[in-house]
């Protein structure tokens, strides 16, 4: 496929250390018409696995104006089922067509025995699981011919069998495979609250050089008779405590491309752009310190 001039101009490696927003179908026209002042856009890769039609058509038009990141939710990297080659081939074709600067997936699994849950299910953090995920990430990077970013998920349970803290597991994975880390600061906050660990311990344990992208989103608090749990719901603004944690993350990791994720109960595009500008202000402060 011949790259269009606009695409080559925004080739790989070009995502600025600014805030971007998740692009959803409901905002296609608004993005094209208003060209919001955000640094870049991220889409869920699988939403563009179709052979043709409006999603791909819109993405092509929008891609001409913004750097792009492809964020996968369905590869099921942590699964013990064989890697889905069909899925991988579609991702590869998408990468060839849209030349994203970043390609990411999750530290999770979503299928076993041929059944898919289309959800980000937690892995036990054991030596065996680490060995498995290292091999899988290496395999995917090999197939795609490029490094992946791996994101820490929100989790609602911990396995009795886990022996390694998540931050060590993620760091080891990055060190052994050369993959980058997509650090979801909201997910750190959610998991820290759900499992009573210190979110700053997590931040301090992640080496500075591996973090290449940050995610921010809103969570929901769900109350039961026996307690409450935080759910990574992506349906509201970023919480103040998460903004505070983000500020500390940026102190540690320096400015990193930061995404505002909002997937359900989508508001007007301007609400996302306002959230992105809030992240931009924090990035600017850090840029100013460094100068």
């Amino acid at each position: 496929m011949i790259a269009k001039p606009a695409l080559s101009r925004l080739g790989p490696g070009s995502i600025p250390a600014r805030a971007g927003i998740g692009l959803r179908a409901e905002h296609y026209d608004a993005v094209l018409e208003s060209r919001p002042p955000v640094g870049w856009l991220e889409v869920h890769s699988e939403n563009y696995f179709g052979a043709g039609g409006k999603p791909l058509d819109y993405l092509e038009r929008i891609r001409a104006h913004y750097p792009l990141s492809l964020h996968g939710v369905g590869l099921s990297i942590g699964s013990t089922d064989p890697l889905d080659r069909w899925h991988l081939s579609k991702l590869k074709a998408l990468i060839r067509r849209f030349e994203p600067a970043l390609v990411s997936e999750h530290l999770s699994w979503g299928s076993v025995g041929g059944r898919h849950f289309n959800d980000l299910l937690p892995l036990p953090y054991t030596e065996e699981a680490l060995y498995h995920v290292v091999a899988r990430v290496a395999q995917v990077q090999d197939q795609l011919g490029r490094p992946l970013l791996i994101e820490n998920p929100s989790s609602y349970l911990q396995y009795v069998e886990s022996t390694i803290p998540e931050w060590e597991f993620l760091t080891e994975l990055a060190e052994r495979t050369g993959c980058g880390v997509l650090l979801d600061v909201n997910n750190i906050y959610v998991s820290a609250r759900n499992h009573s660990f210190d979110a700053d311990t997590y931040l301090r344990a992640i080496p500075r050089h591996v973090v290449q992208e940050i995610h921010l989103a809103g969570f929901t608090v769900k109350c039961f008779e026996d307690g409450e749990i935080l759910i990574d719901s992506h349906n509201q603004p970023v919480w103040p405590a998460v903004w505070a944690l983000y500020r500390r993350a940026i102190q540690r990791f320096s400015p990193v491309p930061t995404l505002i994720e909002w997937d359900t109960d989508l508001p007007e595009l301007t609400v996302l752009v306002d959230e992105a500008q809030r992240a931009d202000a924090i990035l600017e402060e850090r840029h100013a310190q460094a100068a």
Partner: protein
């Protein structure tokens, strides 16, 4: 210690099959119970898969109501689990499922409405295709034209129903402005669903002959056979006009001569 695979299979069983086989012994107890924590994942998974069905089947959802749709979706998910990490592939068997789902047995038209929505979903995501090459077609010698096979646009779909599913679909759109209610006695419909160059999708209710022609060609009949079937279905059909219309509007996009 269970190996990763056993743990995943156990988790899956606990998630989908409502397995009470004590998987929560693998979950660290702190505050909320293991069962409660599993319940969060079960809920999220169900929500995600139900949402995918709702996105493909909004008219079915409107016809049966939100609450019943969620109930039907849960039953469907248990019987026909997702087989792909791409949610757009999920829901293919929903029309067939509805057909044998006792609670909706009285809504005889419902499975066909679901078929229409699945067809729309397929057409929406189908590949582009350039129009038929008329110059090359004109070079086929007249005596061999009857042997031609034609290919429909990847974003074209034919659907036949004994019920007025197009009208049902239309009056259940969000922007519908109060069309008269549908009477099942209006009878069935033979539909062409076609996505145009500008990516807009159109439904065309076809007469018997026109539908027979396209249906035969889509089923890989040669041109002579397809024409015979069309004329048998509708002796008054203006066959050349009908054929040209479907070439010009991009329904028929390619052709080949066998053994050539």
């Amino acid at each position: 210690m269970p190996r990763l695979r056993e743990l995943q299979l156990g988790f899956a069983a606990a998630l989908l099959d409502g397995d009470a086989g004590g998987f929560d012994r693998h979950i660290r107890a702190s505050g909320l119970s293991g069962a409660r924590r599993l319940q969060v994942y079960r809920h999220n998974t169900l929500l995600g898969l139900t949402g995918a069905l709702e996105a493909v089947y909004p008219v079915v959802r409107r016809l049966v109501g939100e609450e019943f749709f969620r109930y039907a979706a849960a039953q469907y998910i248990a019987r026909h689990p997702s087989r792909s990490g791409d949610l757009h592939e999920f829901g293919e068997h929903f029309p067939l499922f509805l057909q044998s789902f006792p609670p909706t047995a009285e809504l005889v038209y419902l499975p066909d409405v679901a078929r229409l929505e699945w067809a729309y979903h397929q057409v929406f995501h189908a590949a582009r295709h350039p129009p038929l090459d008329l110059t090359t077609l004109a070079q086929i010698p007249a005596e061999r034209q009857g042997e031609l096979h034609f290919q429909l646009h990847p974003a074209a779909c034919l659907l036949e129903s004994a019920f007025p599913i197009l009208r049902i679909w239309q009056v259940n759109q969000d922007d519908d402005t109060g069309d008269p209610p549908v009477d099942l006695a209006e009878g069935g419909v033979q539909l062409l669903i076609i996505r145009h160059e500008n990516l807009d999708i159109e439904f065309q209710a076809l007469a018997d002959g026109e539908f027979s022609l396209l249906h035969a060609l889509a089923g890989n009949s040669d041109f002579t056979t397809a024409c015979e079937q069309a004329m048998a279905a509708q002796p008054t059909l203006d066959l050349p006009a009908c054929f040209h219309r479907h070439v010009l509007q991009g329904v028929l996009v390619d052709f080949f001569l066998p053994n050539c």
